[in-house]
Amino acid sequence: MFTAPEGKRKSADKTMTLTEAFKLFINNGDSIAFSGMGGSQCVAHTYELIRLGYRGMTLFGDSPCEAGDMLIGAGVVNRIEVAWCAYAVAGLGHNYRRAVEESIPAKIEVKEYSNYTMGLRFLSGAMNLPFLPTKSLLGSDLPTYNPEIKEMECPYTGERLALVPAARPDVAVVHVSRADKRGNCQNLGFISNAENIGRAAKKTIVTCEELVSTDEIRRNANLTFLPEYCVDAVVEVPFASHPWNFPYAYAYDIPFHAQQMEAYRTREGFLNWLDEWCFAAGSWDGYLRKVGWDRLFKLQQVERRFTLSSI
């Protein structure tokens, strides 16, 4: 039986570097989940996991892009429970395809859900419930190939329901607009599954585009979607989603992404990319320098022109 897991780390200052946070809270073989949906992807985090050489991990995700395809290609992840994996408009998930179709670089185990039902799995974990019911999945082939999706007859109405089990990753990595040192997180823009991933996980690492004071958090308390008691570590990582967009911060660098996707078509192309952008760059700062701060600044500046927010 599952008993309520221990609370998160308590501290008035949880800030550290990304490398420190990963080394402290992530182990080989852990299950992990990332926030983001299309935009706000955890890209810096993906590169860091690869750089640190993690192995044997399980990924819980809704529709991961980099955090799915790259971690599979780099051999970090060998088991995924997801709804989708590709790069949307930019391109297909060639690493994912190679792994499933040809076991390159290795065979991976796949359990499939839909975006909503992955969302419900995180919600379920966040609520400390072992499952949640839904009307998705019924009649489709997702339950055919995934025995963890169960069906039940409602004890109140007799109607058919699909059940999905709670997702309780060992580690959540959540990237947000702003956070304070204690771990209070606010987003301008969509939340994706971040609020539940951050609660469901045993350990939660928050990164933010901008570190702010607790007074700033208190001024807009309705924006806080993840309070400090859900959070173990806080890291300021600006531009952590590049080449993806981050709402109210910077536009999507789709020309960069298209180029990257072109490289990923072949296994060598992908490995060369890793050598150049992940290992040789040495850190996310190195990656950003390589992208060029003038380019990043333009992505930020063009985004400002679209912004109405008064916050």
């Binding site: 983001g36 949906m37 299309g38 935009g39 706000s40 809704d62 529709s63 997801v82 709804a83 989708w84 994996c85 949307a88 408009v89 930019a90 499933v100 179709e101 076991s103 796949v110 499939e112 839909s114 975006n115 909503y116 039902t117 969302g119 919600l123 009307k135 019924l138 009649g139 489709s140 082939d141 997702l142 055919t144 190939y145 058919r160 329901l161 987003n187 301008l188 823009g189 969509f190 939340i191 994706s192 599954n193 609020e195 539940n196 979607f225 993806w244 967009n245 981050f246 709402p247 999507y252 789709i254 020309p255 960069f256 298209a258 380019r295 063009v302 985004e303 022109r305 679209f306 109405l308």
Partner: protein, 296 residues
């Protein structure tokens, strides 16, 4: 109504998708041609339409092309930014009128596959691994009606899909209801050759209209079952001149309309965003203040 005389197939499809949206509809929108269709509807006959995007943003009013379901365009001037689970719960509650879904295979009951092409191999090690459901299964399960968009090929329009990712009418008749699915199911399949609709009783797809220049024989040859045709077969309505003009404004670099992503330089891209900000904000203001939408 002045029909366009000069338009591409992509522009026809955008207009066709747009026509499936009524003013005031809440629409679960993706990117690409269906997304352009929604954008077009918003700037023409459906100014009060509300777009819902999977990331959790509702009612955006973006002055640029939407480049992803979590693009900043999705939150731009949105009426509500929320979570993925909440957005999909609202759909499960019945609040979303239209959902647009695509796939790699479809069958005569509108069941879609976007998961695996098995082709004599196995689900675990298929011929082609596709991205998977994403939100498609959920949209197909719960939207009040779904519009399917898929290009015609005999290997795509098959008797039985390898894997039902997004349920249509399952085995037809009342199979969908019996499965417990709350949404209304597919209302149309928009293809590159024709529009299909579904028999209200058997729930089998039939051709309702063929696109200009396409014969019904060509359509039938691209379907691997004996495709039914409406006795009252129509010609698909072409886009109006206004629709084409607005469509091109929405996607000035032809990213979706002409596969223009590959040649897009960073400078051209930034320039596209800046122009688009000015052009589309004017287009919206014109529509909203002079048009049929109340501005409050």
């Amino acid at each position: 109504m002045v029909y366009a005389t000069d338009y591409t197939l992509a522009e026809l499809l955008v207009a066709t998708a747009a026509r499936e949206i009524k003013d005031g509809d809440v629409v679960f929108v993706g990117v690409g041609i269906p997304g352009l269709g929604a954008g077009l509807a918003r700037l023409t006959h459906a100014p009060n339409m509300i777009m819902a995007m999977e990331c959790g943003s509702i009612g955006s009013q973006a002055y640029r092309l939407v480049l992803g379901i979590g693009d900043n365009a999705c939150v731009e001037n949105a009426i509500c930014n929320t979570s993925l689970w909440r957005l999909f719960s609202d759909q499960q509650r019945g609040y979303f009128d239209v959902g647009m879904v695509g796939g790699a295979q479809v069958d005569k009951y509108g069941n879609l596959n976007s998961t695996v092409i098995i082709d004599n191999r196995s689900y675990q090690q298929p011929k082609t691994r596709l991205p998977g459901s994403g939100g498609a299964n959920d949209i197909a399960s719960s939207a009040r009606k779904t519009i399917l968009m898929i290009n015609m090929q005999a290997r795509r329009f098959i008797e039985k899909v390898d894997y039902i990712t997004s349920p249509g009418y399952l085995d037809g008749y009342d199979a969908r209801e019996r499965a417990g699915l709350p949404g209304g199911g597919p209302a149309a399949i928009i293809t590159d050759k024709c529009i299909m609709r579904f028999c209200p009783v058997t729930k089998e797809a039939y051709v309702a209209s063929v696109h200009p220049g396409v014969t019904i024989e060509e359509v039938k040859s691209l379907v691997s079952w004996n495709l039914k045709v409406s006795p009252d077969l129509q010609k698909t309505e072409p886009p109006t001149a206004e629709q084409v003009k607005i469509t091109r404004t929405l996607d000035p670099e032809g990213i979706y309309l002409r596969g223009g992503l590959r040649n897009l330089t960073f400078d051209r891209y930034i320039e596209m965003l800046e122009n688009s900000r000015d052009v589309l904000s004017k287009a919206f203001m014109k529509k909203l203040y002079n048009g049929s939408a109340d501005r409050c």
